[in-house]
Amino acid sequence: MAIIVDEKTRLIVQGITGREGSFHTKLMKEYGTKIVAGVTPGKGGQEVHGIPVYDSVEEAVKAHPEANTSIIFVPARFAADAVYEAIDAGIKTIVVITEGIPVHDALRFVNYAKSKGVTIIGPNCPGVISPGKAKVGIMPGHIFMPGNVGIVSRSGTLTYEIAYAMTKAGIGQTTAVGIGGDPVVGTSFVEALQMFEDDPETEAIVLVGEIGGDMEERAAKMIEEGKITKPAVAFIAGRTAPPGKRMGHAGAIIMMGTGTAEGKVKALESVGVKVARTPMEIPALLKEVLKK
């Protein structure tokens, strides 16, 4: 098993005729992901890398009823509409790669998806890969390998760095999820953690966090409450970064001291999570916790 995407994934690419969409369709296909259709309004009838293109998700699903997942490369202004379109066409897992989506748009489609029981990953994320099974994202496939460790990350390239270090050390991954860097994302750290906890194949979890927000603190709380029993190790980026821009008094009130790298490291260490000082230390920490 794996989480979110696996060998049963049948993918639709929204925005398949664009530069990024087309490029990554090729790479995902080469990796072995089963891509059944592409969608670009007004370009129905074409083919991209041998994949049929439709004008709407509805038509794509009608022609390929096995479709269960969508990846979105649509430009920011039209991305929210693309998400709603996929949800209404019955797609249950949606990965939003697009960067720069207005936060109010994300706020609405994330709440809409939740009410329909749809899983959204992103926006502004590298996607999801279950090595050897499916890649629904823009990460370089060759740095991952199948295994028993789940990775949940707020950052793209940093995930690559850590996955590569793990792979070189012979530690493979069940799934790596890049949840996205925007203020509002469809699947949070806590939710991804719960999925790994429930996945029988995952034996340990790597948390890759960064400054800002309180997702890491919430993850620590979950571990403390005993909801996560699998061993976890972590890396937090931004120990030396200057504090971000203040959002008026309201920002300070709502955050109440969470959000700093120090605070996150402390919260995680206090519940027994080993926090690496560099990404390269992650494999060694994993070997330690996997031995037990």
């Binding site: 390239t157 960064e210 309180d214 030396t240 200057p242």
Partner: protein, 376 residues
């Protein structure tokens, strides 16, 4: 994008809630004539329109009791930098006697993924202290983004901070307008602090709006010169104009990375090994040769930066493209400062051979590379 107080108040008024009467002044304007045209007379408050926090405590807000005061204070405030920033505008506003100051704001709660209303009966400059010491005195109320803030909910929030009667209705009406502003202008934040109470009405004595940068394409009216925001240093302004994601720090090792997480981690690694990062510069995903050239050139020119460390892990970013950008920058500007490159991921072999042909070596291990740059 932060809006000026006068912009925020104009918006609140447009959406239906009264704000203090005022005139907006530029340096060339005659304050007395402008005030008379608008039917304003002392006492008034003269407020420096700068986008920095703590404006009141920094002396940017003054009370003028007479016409002479007005002339003197306008002159004074136009020539007084607030945290290094001279105001382009002053706002002259009727002085409103008020018996109490409340607090009201709307922000996005990232964890709940819902807008949250914050309200308190203890508004004013010390609101953050109150939030720490008496957190129960700040009410939080989550709103369904599809339904919006309904009147009975706004009244409920008002009651929970101890308001009653007509004052409660006035507060609820204000909250609903604030919520409309939040939605219509794609706000990250709308805030009124203090929200004055005069008799049975509330009136926003100050107002702040921060518009989500990602939504600016649908709010072109707010596009402003980034220099006036006061948020950026001289080199940050320069970088933004060139399209570079650059944040200035106080060390001497220039940093370039791809992706915010990796770039921050690069800074952390430098720090961990005893160096001091001079900046954060993220070339993002899929950077072109030209962008790389611009980034390297920019740090070569920066006077405080003594050496440069570039940490690239190629995903969509291609190693050969990065290498070509580095070579182009050096060809144009010369290798003025030591440059250490770490290159891994997509097309790293091609990238490395391009660098070697031009007399540069690239590391694969970031820690080795960091140690090298610090030893230089």
């Amino acid at each position: 994008m932060k809006l000026f107080e006068f912009e925020a108040k104009r918006i609140i008024k447009e959406l239906g809630f009264p704000v203090p009467r005022s005139v907006l002044l530029e340096k060339k304007d005659d304050p007395v004539r402008k005030m008379k045209e608008a039917g304003l007379k002392p006492p008034v408050v003269v407020k420096s329109q700068v986008l920095v926090a703590g404006r009141g405590k920094a002396g940017g807000i003054k009370m003028a009791k007479t016409w002479d005061d007005v002339v003197r204070l306008v002159e004074e405030l136009f020539n007084k930098p607030i945290k290094g920033l001279f105001p382009r505008y002053l706002l002259i506003e009727e002085a409103i006697p008020h018996e109490k100051e409340l607090y009201a704001a709307i922000i996005i709660d990232r964890s709940e993924r819902k807008p949250v209303i914050l309200a308190s009966q203890y508004g004013g400059m010390d609101i953050e202290e109150i939030a720490r010491e008496k957190p129960e005195s700040i009410v939080r109320y989550h709103v369904d983004p599809f339904i919006g803030l309904r009147a009975f909910e706004a009244r409920k929030i008002g009651r929970s901070i101890g308001l009653q009667g007509r004052l409660l209705n006035s507060f609820a009406a204000f909250l609903q307008v604030l919520y409309k502003v939040f939605e219509k202008y794609d706000a990250d934040l709308v805030e009124s602090n203090p929200l004055g109470v005069t008799g049975d009405k509330v009136i926003p004595l100050d107002a702040r709006i921060i518009v989500d940068d990602n939504s600016l394409y649908r709010h072109k009216e707010f596009e402003k010169d980034i220099e006036v925001t006061g948020e950026y240093t001289e080199w940050e302004v320069k970088a933004r104009r060139m399209g570079l994601a650059f944040v200035e720090l106080d060390g001497d090792i220039g940093i370039i990375g791809n992706g915010a997480g990796l770039t921050m981690t690069t800074m952390d690694l430098v720090y961990l090994h005893g160096g001091k990062p001079a900046n954060f510069l993220d070339i993002g995903g899929g950077a072109s040769k030209d962008l790389v050239k611009k980034a390297v050139g920019f740090l070569m020119e920066h006077p405080r930066i003594k050496k440069i460390f570039m940490n690239i892990f190629g995903g969509i970013t291609r190693g050969d493209e990065v290498a070509r950008g580095i070579v182009a920058a050096i060809e144009e500007l010369g290798l003025k400062k030591p440059l250490v490159v770490r290159l891994s991921g997509t097309n790293e072999e091609e990238g490395r051979s391009i660098l070697e042909e031009n007399g540069l070596t690239a590391y694969t291990d970031p820690v080795e590379a960091v140690k090298k740059v610090i030893s230089l």
